[in-house]
Amino acid sequence: MGPSTSAPDPRFAEIESHRPYLVRYALSQLRDGQLAEEAVQEALLAALESIGSFGGKSSLRTWLTSILRFKVVDLQRRAIAERANLAHDESEGENEGWLDELFDSTGHWREAPQAWSNPEAALEQRRFWEAFERCLDKLPQAGSRVFFKREVLGEETETICKAEGITPSNCWVILHRSRIALRACLEKNWFGKEASFG
């Protein structure tokens, strides 16, 4: 694919539209923002070069992710020396003080979770996914990474703990916190009566 190409493949824009997802995937694996961007950039370039071989058997996102995975593994190898220094950068500890912001002293919700009407319909709306991504972005970095690995990629908790250098109970705390934060963000911005994203 050289600079002389006159009519760009219409799928280029489509590929580009998956960039936010791919960046999150890379961040969940690499935790270093610059490395993650680098991996995505390399993967997208590789994808553009080989788009002709994409047969549409899997979703475009799945295909792009498989290309990205190779780039990530490659960069992981290069970055592995730094891993030891990074393992504890934002360990959340056993501290559950954050729960005090969400629950009062009698253990009740400060902001009661509402009933969401027909949430499944949201999954079909492009703007819902924009809101979903914005809410993911608001999580603390460790939370966003762990939630992505556990819920989006379906990695085992044990695998996640090892990669993050944390204990299972730390991991559970981070997930608990992330889920509450996500549901609150979606309620505020999408499902709530005064939603601002939707």
């Binding site: 979703s59 969401w116 559970w172 549901r183």
Partner: protein, 61 residues
């Protein structure tokens, strides 16, 4: 034990149930709480929705 689960503890159990099986006494106490707490039932549905949305997010076109 049955009375010891408040919303805070219930939300923790509902979340951790996605990572490990709950013990019978945890399940029993959680159920007692859920039966009388609409807010936590809403939270339970929302966790299910988040789980579903996250999986869909992976393969979306």
């Amino acid at each position: 034990m049955a009375d010891s689960v408040d919303c805070r503890a219930a939300s923790r159990l509902l979340s951790v149930a996605y990572e490990r099986p709950l013990m019978p006494e945890e399940l029993a106490a959680l159920q007692v709480h859920l039966d009388k707490c609409l807010m936590c039932r809403n939270f339970e549905s929302q966790l299910k929705f988040l789980h579903q949305a996250a999986q869909k997010y992976r393969t979306q076109d």
